[in-house]
Structures are given as structure tokens and as C-alpha cells.
Symmetry: C2
Subunit: 182 residues, 2 copies
């Protein structure tokens, strides 16, 4: 996959860009077009998803795409234009797991500066135990806490979100957790 | 300013792009390069800022740049790569207002799908009433609740964040508010 930061040409006019600090008071090196003066910014991306809950179980998806093909994850993906964070989380859950669910409150918001991402997970209550996984998912399955495949999770943000979810559930009180990981 | 969605040329190889649904299972129209097959995604941006508090007052900045030059705003700006949401909020506050402060918890996270943004504001306690505004700010000033220039605020997200801040303060209990506005 081409890194987002690889910018050789201006998206507007096609001229080769220069990598320098723009003249507008900016302090960072950007891809600047010497022909049409467009500055091509690269900013963090939001990944939005859910913790789908059925009774005492949580639903995880086994990934059918790289990276981490075959590993388990909470349903999540990149937030798109024209949607809210919660709408994006519901859309990604539908695409990857095909669930009937009622969206709940925000649960975790995790900055991952190493990869330029922010991951946001919402609690969601499944209104049926059935899943209809999409093409990006090999399998969707419900897990009790003791069954979670901790060694087979795809992403660190899934792990820390599940850890905090079960800790909060044990305490009988769910918070909103804002933190960062390396 | 050039809209982010205006993509005519491939950033990697400079070839003219096609606007179509990629062949990888995607469902949205993207700018796709027919030469090197790079897909140029456009996703929402995070705007991160603070509610700087000194005793019973809140600090606002009068903007020295467009849009909304001369209007008042909470210090905030676009999140950058290599930082967390909280680090970005502290950086923007430093750049725009030049404050000494202790960062507090996340307060509001507001999706604004109309403009493809998510705004996140952190509470922050000023450890000195002094401000040293940067070039993007005409003036930084402390306001008691009764003095807030509600009709002269630059952005709707500043307004709703301040409204919820003062409502929570009156109740003696600050929440984390996740919602969306048009
Ligand atoms: Zn150009
Ligand atoms: Zn190309």
C-alpha cells in the first residue's frame, strides 16, 4: 500500500511538488506546489468501530484482509466524509459483521500517533445473536470474556478497548476512556 | 482555499486520475490512478482545542485569520501527524494563545459531517492569567460566563462547547459530550 505521506505531484495541477515549510506562517514541512501554490496536507485518520454486545458476550470478526489476515478484531474501519463518528462506527459494523444493533455511547478514544490514527469505539447492544459477515470478514463469533483469543487479536487498540470494557463491566459502570498508545 | 476533494492528478506518479469506485471491494467513488493504481482517499479531519479556564473565567481568542477574522473562538486547530489529540490541543492552544496551562480531560467531541470534521475540546486549567497570542490571534481575553460574546463567536462548535461547559459547571459535574451538529 502506498504511504499517505508519499506526495510527488500536485493533486490539482499535476506539477512536481516541493517539500518545504509553506510561506503562510506554517511551521511544518508540507508538499507545496510551486505552480498553483496548493499545499497538500496529510493529517491523522479516524478509525471508528463498535463493541457489539450480546448478553454476556462480545462479537469479534476474524479478518479476511491484510493487514493481520486471520486475526480477530472488533468491527472498525476508516471514518468517511458525510458521516458522524457514531454513524461511521455503525456503518463499519454493518459492513464487516452484518449485525442488528442499537448503538450505545462512546467508550474509547485512542490516539495512535505512531501510525497517525485515532481509534474510537462505541458500545452497541445486539438485538439478535445472528451475524452476516461481509467479504472483509472470514468469520464473526460471540466470545465470553474467558474465551477472548487475546493472543490472536489483530490490533492493540482492540486489546486495550476489550480490557477496559471488561474492567468497567466488572465495576458495573462504563466510562469514556481517552488515552494514547505507542 | 482549494477544496480537499479536488483531485485531478495522482500524487505518486502525476498521471490524471479517474473518479470511480475502486476494484478492491470499496463502495465509494474515489480518485483512482489508472497508471500506478494509487487510490487517493479523502477522510474527515480532526480539529483539537481547549477550554482554558482561569478561576471563574474562560479564555477566548479573537481570530486574526480567515475564515471568521475578528470573531471569537476557543483556541483550536487541525490535529497533525505524530501527536495525540491532547497533545494537538495543547499545541494549538500554545500557538494561538501562548498560555501556561495544565491539560485536563476531554470535554466535547463533536462530529460536523457538513464540513467533514470532528472537533475535540479538552478542559485546561490556566496556571497564570497571562496570554501571549500568536500571529493568528488579534487578542486573547478572559470572559466570565455573563460576558461571553455569544453573537460574535466564530464557530458553532465553540458555542455548543461553551454552552455545555457552563451547564456542567453549574451542576458541579463535568461529563464527556459526544454529539454532532449540522
Ligand atoms: Zn499545483
Ligand atoms: Zn499514479
Amino acid at each position: 500500500m502506498t504511504p499517505r505521506s508519499l506526495i510527488n505531484f500536485c493533486r490539482v495541477c499535476g506539477h512536481a511538488v516541493e517539500h518545504r515549510v509553506p510561506d503562510d506562517g506554517d511551521t511544518r514541512v508540507r508538499a507545496v506546489c510551486p505552480a498553483c501554490h496548493t499545499v497538500q496536507y496529510v493529517n491523522p485518520l479516524n478509525v471508528v468501530g463498535t463493541i457489539p454486545v450480546w448478553q454476556d458476550q462480545v462479537l469479534l470478526c476474524r479478518r479476511n484482509i491484510e493487514p493481520r489476515m486471520g486475526k480477530w478484531t472488533l468491527p472498525a474501519g476508516f471514518m468517511e466524509l458525510d458521516e458522524t463518528t457514531a454513524q461511521g462506527a455503525a456503518r463499519e459494523t454493518d459492513e464487516e459483521a452484518g449485525l442488528q444493533l442499537e448503538m450505545g455511547p462512546l467508550f474509547s478514544i485512542i490516539s495512535v500517533p505512531r501510525v497517525g490514527q485515532v481509534h474510537l469505539f462505541y458500545r452497541a447492544t445486539m438485538t439478535s445473536p445472528e451475524a452476516h459477515p461481509g467479504p472483509e470478514t472470514q468469520e464473526a463469533r460471540l466470545f465470553a470474556e474467558a474465551e477472548i483469543p487475546w493472543e490472536e487479536l489483530a490490533f492493540h487498540t482492540t486489546r486495550v478497548t476489550l480490557e477496559r470494557f471488561f474492567a468497567d463491566r466488572q465495576q458495573g459502570r462504563f466510562g469514556i476512556h481517552d488515552f494514547s498508545i505507542d
